[in-house]
């Protein structure tokens, strides 16, 4: 369902004035890259050109470091971003590489299992990859073997929850209010009328995904 | 107008008047003899005390005026109007009494001491700073008679006590058990060591020309040519070293907001912070006062003597020397405020470089030229243009040459 060939974007310039050196966009360069990726039959499947400056390739997760090194030497020096997308069947790690000379972007996708996500780290190819890998670990729990200090960067260190996984539900302020009223009403009804009214103050605001990692109540994320 | 004699006359008139009244009311017993004897013994001490208090009050009023000028001028240089606190209310005045509001409020603030700090040094630090600054404030005369103490070597005494403050800064910075204040204290010590000697050397040139350490004599020698004309290089060295001594912006490292939060004052709150801030401005006043005495002819005024007889028969004579002195101090201070608005802050190693490798050689070179100048011209007083030319031209050429070689970079 992914990667259908995008139609030509009207706004996208192609041969206008001040065009990059290779006439008609980096077409020649893309063919060369496709050729090299084609040779690695076992590891790279479905490599295609999806736009004047966009390329796509699916890579087997265990060969990711060699492919990245090969592409960097081919001209993709800039690791623009390294992120994950949590599909229900699998967890895709996305590498977005940009080439300064030939002005073209390639998107590598490595599909790993959502249960215990593990993949080799590409910090040996780009030192800057460590930052994106730490964030991916922080948000998705993907363990990058070989990353120098794989620690949480945005969330407090003692958290044990990976917030951007689809399994993690967040409870908005409205649901919390409704839930607290429901509990109060239940407590008031349950307490015998003669006994003193339950004076227990409103339960402290229960935040979905609290640090102790208690499973969030199934409030559902839809506001 | 000799302050001491006037005050002595005033005090004795007051005390004798009271005692006379009491005796008139029939209290002639041995108690009155004891009081008269005590007054006889303490007469000199009481007068000196009154004079010192008067000089301190004038000095502190000048400090308050300078603080107000600094806040307003630095705001004006950035298109901003600072405090507008007036008697009628907030925003309805010129902000002159803003400092009193700050002081009273700081009086009320809770005085916190960090738990693991060295409590007694922490408390004593700012008071040593203010104490040593006030001691020098008393030693600087405002005109011939108008001075608490006119020592034979007043300049030596002033410079000695003036150089004591960085120890207080270092002590309080170290005792506050906080990394920022520790670094602030260290920097203040480094800065003092690197800029103290050029300061004294630049003063040595002036003292040689004047022939005496007494501040009043230095001013009298300058009544025709101000020493800034004869010693331009010494003035440059003096101003740069003095800015680093009183820790103002270009050499503001002990209290650098950017990297050390508030430098050595970070842990002070309430009255101790008020002391620390006030000490900064007292030292600013002293720096400018000594600068004016040494280079801008102290209280000599370009206005020729004149006398005006007032409508009610009194007679008002001559330019008031104290007024001219204070106006010059304020002008020099405004120059410092302008420097603060225009320049950034230097690094610690750059201060040391400037102190040792730029200011010190310049001061030595200026001293050598002064000696040469004095050896040739028997009496500089008589021929200022010749003396000036004989000195200024080589100094200017050499400084330009140094500048061309990029020596200051």
């Amino acid at each position: 369902m992914m990667g259908t060939a995008a139609t030509q974007k009207a706004g996208e310039e192609n041969g206008s004035a001040g065009a990059p050196p290779a006439a008609g966009g980096p077409g020649g360069f893309q063919q060369r890259v496709l050729g090299e990726l084609g040779r690695l039959q076992g590891t790279v499947t479905e490599s295609s050109v999806t736009g004047p400056r966009r390329m796509l390739a699916k890579v087997a997760p265990d060969k990711i470091v060699e492919v990245c090194r090969l592409l960097r030497d081919a001209g993709f020096e800039h690791l623009s971003a390294l992120t994950c997308v949590d599909y229900d069947s699998e967890l895709q790690v996305i590498y977005l590489l940009w080439s300064y000379k030939d002005r073209c972007l390639i998107e590598l996708r490595a599909a790993i299992s959502g249960a215990e996500p593990k993949i080799a780290s590409v910090t040996s190819v780009w030192t800057g990859a460590e930052f994106h890998e730490r964030e991916a670990y922080d948000m998705f729990g993907v363990v990058f073997e070989g990353c120098p200090n794989l620690k949480r960067v945005l969330l407090p260190d003692e958290w044990s929850v990976f917030p951007l996984r689809k399994s993690f539900k967040v409870e908005s302020i409205h649901e919390k209010r409704k839930r607290i009223e429901a509990e109060k009403a239940k407590a008031a009804k349950a307490a015998a009328p003669a006994a003193a009214p339950a004076s227990e103050p409103a339960q402290p605001p229960k935040q979905g995904g609290t640090p102790d990692g208690a499973p969030a109540p199934k409030g559902g994320g839809a506001p | 107008m000799d302050l001491y004699s006037t005050m002595h006359g005033l005090v004795s008139w007051l005390v004798n008047g009271i005692l006379g009244l009491l005796e008139g009311a029939g209290m002639r017993g041995p108690v009155m003899q004891l009081v008269r004897w005590m007054y006889g013994a303490l007469e000199h001490a009481i007068t000196v005390a009154v004079v010192v208090v008067l000089i301190l009050v004038i000095g502190l009023l000048m400090v308050i005026l300078m603080l107000w000028i600094e806040r307003k001028l630095i705001a004006r240089l950035a298109d901003r109007r600072a405090t507008m606190l007036g008697i009628m209310g907030i925003g309805k005045g010129t902000g002159a009494i803003q400092l009193f509001a700050d002081a009273i409020k700081l009086l009320l603030k809770e005085d916190t001491t960090p738990r693991k700090a060295d409590k007694y040094i922490f408390a004593v630090g700012p008071s040593i700073l203010v104490g040593s600054s006030l001691l020098v404030l008393v030693a600087v005369p405002m005109s011939d008679g108008f001075a608490a103490s006119d020592l034979k070597d007043g300049l030596l005494f002033a410079m000695a006590v003036f150089a004591f403050a960085p120890f207080a800064v270092f002590l309080s910075g170290w005792s506050a058990n906080n990394k920022y204040t520790l670094m602030g204290g260290m920097r203040s010590a480094t800065q003092m060591i690197s800029c103290e000697i050029p300061l004294l050397l630049s003063i040595a040139g002036v003292v040689m020309l004047a022939g005496s350490f007494r501040l009043a004599d230095i001013v009298h020698v300058q009544d025709r040519t101000w020493f800034i004309l004869l010693q331009p290089v010494a003035f440059v060295v003096y101003i740069v070293a003095m800015i680093s001594e009183i820790e103002r912006i270009p050499f503001d490292l002990p209290e650098a907001e950017a990297e050390l939060v508030e430098g050595w004052q970070t842990e002070y709150s309430g009255m101790k912070f008020a002391f620390a801030m006030m000490a900064g401005y007292i030292r600013g006043y002293i720096g400018c006062a000594i600068g004016v005495i040494l280079f801008f002819g102290g209280w000599s005024s370009p206005v020729p003597a004149y006398t005006v007889d007032l409508p009610w028969g009194g007679r008002f004579s001559g330019p008031v020397p104290e007024l001219w002195f204070l106006v010059k101090v304020l002008l020099l201070f405004m120059f410092l405020v302008w420097v603060r608005a225009g320049l950034g802050r230097v690094r610690v190693d750059q201060i040391v470089t400037i102190g040792w490798k730029r200011l010190l050689p310049l001061a030595m070179f200026n001293l050598a030229l002064t000696v040469a100048l004095m050896a040739f011209s028997d009496d500089i007083g008589t021929s200022p243009p010749v003396a000036g030319a004989a000195f200024v031209i080589p100094a200017a050429c050499l400084t330009a040459a140094f500048w061309r070689w990029g020596w200051f970079r």
Binding site: L155, P156, V161, P163, V170, E171, I173, H174, P205, Q207, G208, G209, P211, G221, P223 | R71, A75, A78, R80, R81, A82, T83, M84, L85, I90, G91, Q98, F100, A101, D102, I104, K105, L106, L108, K109, E110, D111, T112, T113, P114, R115, K116, A117, D118, K119, Y120, N177, N178, K179, Y180, L182, E257, V261, E262, T266, E267, Y268, S269, G270, F273
Partner: protein
């Protein structure tokens, strides 16, 4: 003589950072094992404290005896109130977008110093704490340390929706909904972000509030 603020946990960092939890990191210069307070002649000086406290008690008792205290209070109260109103020192601490609008208030066009509000960066000398952004769980200890380090008569202004009730981040897992869950807030400024003129108006209202309620002396003279 003010009490020493003994109870205050002032050993934390003045710059408001959370205490350093890295292994082996120690607060203060790292001489191994040497207690920072030099062993002064505590026997004599301790009695100095008692001497000073005794004197203060004596003077207090004397004033109370002569019952001139209410007279002194009636004269001093308006003067202290005026001085606190006329010179509020605000802490220069910006959290998020409202910090940009707070910055503008200190700049030439809307000069907050005309009201006597100066911006300082050390919490030790500020009496106004502006919460101007969303508070996350990681910022909570920082804000609490900063608030604790400020000397006693202090006020808090919650600026912007995020400081009032979490604002647009009402379903975020990391945001605390409102500053009043952490600090006693005196003035709320609605708006996301409120215009700088709104902050000036809040400063003016704070001055009126001080005038109305009078300032509290931080010296705890008893």
């Amino acid at each position: 003589m003010g009490s020493e603020g003994e109870g205050r946990d002032a050993g934390a960092r003045p710059d408001g950072a959370a205490p350093d939890e890295r292994p082996g990191a120690r607060d203060g210069p790292a001489e191994p094992g040497e207690e920072c307070v030099p062993p002064g002649p505590s026997v004599i000086l301790a009695s100095l404290d008692e001497l000073v406290d005794g004197l203060v008690g004596l003077v207090d008792w004397g004033i109370g005896l002569v019952s001139v205290k209410p007279l002194v209070n009636r004269i001093a109260r308006p003067i202290f109130g005026w001085s606190q109103r006329a010179s509020i020192f605000a802490l220069h601490s910006g959290l998020a977008c409202c910090a940009m609008e707070m910055g503008v208030v200190g700049m030439p066009r809307l000069d907050s110093e005309r009201l006597g509000v100066a911006w300082f960066s050390s919490p030790r000398r500020c009496d106004l704490f502006l919460v101007n952004g969303w508070i996350t769980k990681k910022t909570r200890p920082v804000l609490m340390t900063l608030y604790e380090q400020m000397p006693e008569p202090k006020w808090v202004i919650a600026m912007g929706e995020c400081a009032i009730s979490g604002g647009p981040w009402h379903d975020s897992y990391n945001v605390i909904f409102g500053a009043d869950e952490l600090l006693p807030v005196d003035i709320y400024i609605p708006g996301c972000p409120p215009r700088p003129e709104a902050l000036l108006d809040a400063l003016w209202k704070l001055q009126k509030k001080i005038a109305r309620e009078g300032t509290r002396s931080g010296l705890r003279l008893g």
